[in-house]
């Protein structure tokens, strides 16, 4: 069934969201497209999808990349937790060494980043679990839950540090 162009209103389309945020692969004339860079066998070395350099970032893809980044960063937090626990078990002197690092400026910066990463990875992980059971998979729901998740992660991080600092300075 051919439809006259422009006859569909936004409300009648199930994926009206796509009109505002088109999922477009913006492939420009890159170096890899030139014949001189062509692979053996006559095939041009075209970028493979999803190729981050030519892929217009959307909220969904950026949040997904951050999920992995926070996960990798949290691995260093787990290593720190291991050091801290071992130091606590080894005695007050060793514990003081670990706490010297944690209460340095570098330590505080890392703790703040670990706090945010933990809440982000946790909230987005819950989002993933909902997707796993088939909930919230529409375009609109994905964007909404993404925004909600970022807000929740920021809110929980802010709340944690506000309470922590309030107790520290009281």
């Amino acid at each position: 069934m051919a439809q006259a162009p422009g006859s569909d209103s936004a409300s009648s389309r199930p994926h009206a969201y796509r009109q505002q945020r088109p999922l477009v692969l913006e492939v420009s004339e890159t170096k890899s497209m030139k014949p001189s860079k062509a692979k053996a066998g006559g095939q041009a070395a075209r970028p493979m999808s999803p190729h981050l350099q030519v892929y217009r970032p959307q909220l969904t893809s950026v949040l997904s990349i951050f999920h992995r980044l926070t996960g990798v960063f949290l691995a260093s937090g787990a290593a720190m937790l291991c050091w801290w626990l071992l130091a606590a078990a080894a005695g007050p002197d060793y514990y003081a060494d670990a706490m010297w690092f944690l209460t340095s400026w570098v330590g505080y910066a890392l703790l703040f980043a670990w706090t945010f990463s933990l809440f982000y990875h946790l909230c987005n992980g819950v989002r993933h679990l909902f997707w796993d059971v088939g909930m919230g998979l529409s375009m609109r729901a994905t964007y909404a839950s993404g925004a909600l998740m970022v807000g929740a992660a920021m809110g929980l991080t802010g709340l944690s540090w506000a309470i922590g600092l309030a107790v520290y300075f009281s």
Binding site: V72, A75, A78, C82, L85, Y95, L122, V126, L129
Partner: protein, 128 residues
């Protein structure tokens, strides 16, 4: 003509030669880490309120519930960490020797770190 029975095909698990074990354990540990992660953060909160002294840590971990939850948290964290980092390595490291060196290092590192955490919690909890 395919000589395999459908059961043999399922057991063969296709060209990947593995099934849903990795995916499933990642979800199980994720579900477990939601309450455990929140419990851990609240515990750190409490610890900060006590001044985060060595005595406060010992006091906290001496409780049987705290010690058990902490061991569970550490073990689940390193299991989940291993599964996640494994995928990252498999995705980005294409040199075969480097990839397997990193995968073996990751597994052993997670075992060692997990064991150290369990030992530490037990040492603090049971020392008296």
């Amino acid at each position: 003509m395919r000589i395999e029975t459908p059961l043999a095909r399922v057991r063969g698990l296709g060209s990947a030669k593995e099934g849903t074990e990795h995916w499933w354990m990642q979800r199980l540990t994720a579900i477990l880490l939601v309450p455990l992660g929140l419990w851990f953060v609240s515990g750190i909160w409490w610890l900060v309120m006590q001044g985060a002294s060595h005595d406060a840590v010992v006091d906290w971990m001496r409780g049987p519930v705290t010690a058990t939850l902490f061991i569970l948290f550490a073990a689940t964290t390193f299991y989940h960490l291993k599964l996640g980092m494994q995928v990252v390595i498999e995705d980005y490291v294409h040199n075969k020797k480097m990839k397997w060196t990193m995968l073996i290092g990751l597994s052993l590192g997670c075992f060692i770190a997990g064991a150290s955490c369990v030992y530490s919690v037990l040492a603090i909890a049971l020392r008296g």
